[in-house]
């Protein structure tokens, strides 16, 4: 059973996309933990560890992804969660994706991404189990 954390780091309050993904993934048979908005990277990392999730999905539309996404990745590593896979979505310019990947974000999903694409990513990445 895959457990996925969907979180909104930073101050951005637009949660329509995050809630849609959470609900869609539930309908696909996954267990989704949703934290709500305004989560610090620290809170997200700690939540991921406690919930022992397989994936963390970060949703952000305010442009703060280059600062906040790598921070979550780093904090997860520090807490012993280096095997937790981090992916991102929202408003993220294509040209920032190489940087994010280099900092440990496994995949970035832009506007127009379908549930199917995310499921494909999750299924092809699953390591444990």
């Amino acid at each position: 059973m895959l457990r996925i954390l969907i979180a909104k780091p930073g101050l951005d309050g637009h949660d329509r996309g995050a809630k849609f993904i959470a609900r869609s993934l539930r309908d696909q048979g996954y267990e989704v933990i949703y934290t709500g908005i305004r989560q610090t990277p620290e809170a997200i990392a700690q939540t991921a560890i406690q919930e022992d999730v397989d994936f963390v999905g970060l949703s952000l539309l305010s442009g703060a992804h280059k600062e906040l996404f790598p921070r979550v990745v780093d904090l997860l590593k520090e807490a012993g969660g280096e095997d937790i896979i981090v992916f991102g979505g929202g408003i993220i310019p294509e040209e920032d994706i190489p940087f994010l990947k280099q900092r440990g974000v496994a995949s970035v999903f832009g506007p127009g991404t379908t549930t199917k694409q995310i499921v494909e990513f999750l299924e092809s990445s699953r390591s444990r189990d």
Partner: protein
């Protein structure tokens, strides 16, 4: 990592991994639980149950704050239902407790029921043992809700807190058989809503009639069942509830009622596990025999007799042979 050592040291990652092993019924789970077992028995396990929108999570969030102010570590297991269609779940209770996310002495774990009826999940009991052994002095179990079938919480908790709210027809709920038997402490949350006082009165009335028989063997009167009024969102009344909770805990410890409850819990757990395992073994037996279609066929054609067939299979099963 040596899970046992790390759990005893209270390492969060280890505790979380252990919970997953148990939840996923991995072969390592049972030996781990056994190894941890001697170190359990110290936590106070408080079940929080009640109707879906009564505000249980917000209440737990406030209780966590109060627990922390006394020092000590707190754990929460928040159970949400799995979708009967997809098997997935959205686990959102922790959203209301997220201010505690970075407190190293608070452990919050969301669990899906995974089809288990009873308001909790099949493995909650063992998860509690892990948290107990990891040093969490108080463990809150927040369940899905209360209905006729969701009574498993009684078998898992030292104290059950039943949370009601006005205006939902909880007045009628209160009268329903089974519900009254569940709660040790009753909370009327959202007390600022109209109907709160009426609900309080009806609850008192109903409690004056209920007897605790059937909950424990050879029961004598325990302490009276407190009714607390709260409005958790506004932080009203939660301090009092917290004091009442611990006062109640002290009383039942002193009177021996807690011990009786715990023995009862162990009994239920033991019976449950034994029955479950026999059930699993029987399922395996049937599957391995590959005879099920043949049995059905012979019964349908009135060639076989039901109980003869059944008892014959039981005998074969007990002898450890296969058909």
């Amino acid at each position: 990592m040596d899970l046992f050592e790390d759990i005893r040291r209270g390492r969060i990652r280890a505790v979380a991994r252990a919970v997953s092993l148990i939840e996923n019924v991995k072969p390592e789970a049972e030996p781990l639980v056994d190894r941890l077992y001697p170190h359990t028995g110290r936590s106070l396990v408080v079940g929080i149950t009640g109707s879906p929108r009564a505000g249980k999570s917000t209440l737990v969030d406030r209780l966590i704050t109060l627990e922390r102010s006394r020092g000590g570590k707190v754990a929460v297991i928040a159970v949400d239902p799995s979708s009967p269609f997809s098997g997935g779940a959205i686990l959102g209770d922790r959203l209301r407790m997220q201010t505690h996310a970075t407190d190293p002495n608070v452990f919050i774990r969301s669990m899906a029921s995974r089809g288990f009826l009873g308001g909790v999940s099949a493995t909650t009991g063992d998860v509690i043992k892990v948290l107990d052994a990891a040093g969490y002095g108080t463990i809150f179990i927040e369940t899905i809700g209360v209905g006729q079938t969701e009574v498993k919480i009684v078998e898992l908790s030292d104290i059950v807190v039943l949370v009601l709210m006005p205006e939902t027809g909880d007045e009628i709920q209160v009268m329903k058989a089974g519900v009254m038997e569940i709660g040790d402490i009753f909370v009327i949350n959202k007390k600022d809503l109209p109907g709160a006082d009426r609900l309080h009165a009806e609850l008192e009335y109903a409690l004056s009639f209920s007897n605790s028989a059937g909950r424990e063997k050879g029961s004598e009167e325990g302490p009276a069942h407190p009714i607390e009024m709260t409005a958790a969102v506004h932080d009203h009344g939660v301090g009092r509830l917290h004091e009442t909770l611990h006062a109640y805990a002290r009383e039942i410890t002193a009177s021996g009622k807690l011990e009786r409850k715990r023995r009862f819990r162990l009994e239920r757990e033991l019976l449950g596990a034994l029955n479950r395992k026999v059930h699993e073994l029987m399922d395996t037996h049937i599957e391995v025999s590959r005879q099920l279609p043949a049995w059905v066929d012979s019964l349908y054609r009135r060639e076989a007799r039901p109980y003869a067939l059944i008892n014959e299979q039981i005998q074969i099963f007990l002898k450890g042979e296969h058909a």
